[in-house]
């Protein structure tokens, strides 16, 4: 049975790889076509790294939410906290944020695939 933590870092690594490869590819394409490196290109690169940082933050938030939802489930099981509503709210929060994360990951992978399919 897959450990959830492995999934989160797996997603993290996958996305980092995808983003880095995209950035690398743009570098190669620019210099091989002989066109001068435009100043705006560097801005794009920092936008990418900002996006990566934002996604990194989001991933750790999702991980925290998953942690607290697991904790509240454990409390419910061991009888420490019998309040079902708090458990449900924690689990629902974690679930929605996780679904958003997975959606973002899928979009990025899709975008990468489309980029790979582009005729140059």
């Amino acid at each position: 049975m897959a450990n959830f933590n492995a999934n989160v870092s797996g997603i993290q690594n996958a996305m980092k790889n995808v983003i880095e490869q995209n950035t690398l590819r743009r570098n190669e394409n620019s210099s091989s076509s002989g066109m001068p490196k435009v100043g705006s290109f560097d801005n794009d690169k920092s936008e990418f790294s900002n996006a990566v940082k934002a996604i990194d933050n989001y991933i750790s938030k999702v991980d925290d939410l998953q942690q607290s939802s697991d904790m509240s489930i454990k409390d419910l099981l061991s009888g420490k906290n019998e309040d079902i509503t708090s458990v449900v709210s924690a689990v629902a929060k974690a679930d929605i944020s996780f679904k958003l994360l997975v959606g973002v990951r899928n979009k990025i992978i899709e975008a990468y695939k489309q980029t790979m399919n582009m005729q140059v």
């Binding site: 049975m1 897959a2 450990n3 959830f4 933590n5 999934n7 997603i11 942690q67 697991d70 489930i73 454990k74 419910l76 099981l77 061991s78 009888g79 420490k80 079902i84 458990v87 449900v88 689990v91 679930d95 996780f98 679904k99 997975v102 899928n106 992978i109």
Partner: protein
């Protein structure tokens, strides 16, 4: 921060315990008027809490839900200590917990499916 038991294993153990508890409640209600009969219950939450508290992780083979006689309720004149309203209350709680565990398990499995599917 990896736990030795995924939350799904704990939820499954909880489900087992609630199923057992359902049987003990039915037995109690059936013996409402039996002389010298004392009500039975299932010990699971305390065992789990004790295990979790000491190490934070749990060896589930040590925690089996076990049937026991609380011997705490007052005894009527015929030696019987079963109270119908109390058993009904226990039944309501048992049903709610059971439903909660099942839904939580289902949510967890769906999350794993989501993470696996790329399409």
């Amino acid at each position: 921060m990896s736990s030795t038991n995924g939350i799904t294993d704990l939820l499954n153990a909880g489900l087992k315990a609630e199923n057992l508890r359902q049987k003990t409640i039915a037995n109690n209600i059936a013996n409402l008027e039996t002389p010298e009969y004392r009500r039975i219950d299932v010990k699971f939450e305390e065992l789990l809490e004790r295990s979790l508290g000491s190490s934070g992780s749990v060896d589930l083979s040590e925690i089996e839900p076990v049937i026991y006689r609380p011997q705490k309720t007052p005894v009527k004149s015929n030696g019987n200590d079963v109270n119908l309203e109390s058993e009904v209350g226990q039944m309501v709680k048992n049903t709610l917990r059971h439903t909660a565990y099942i839904r939580l398990l289902s949510k967890k499995y769906k999350q794993i499916e989501l993470a696996i599917d790329v399409e």
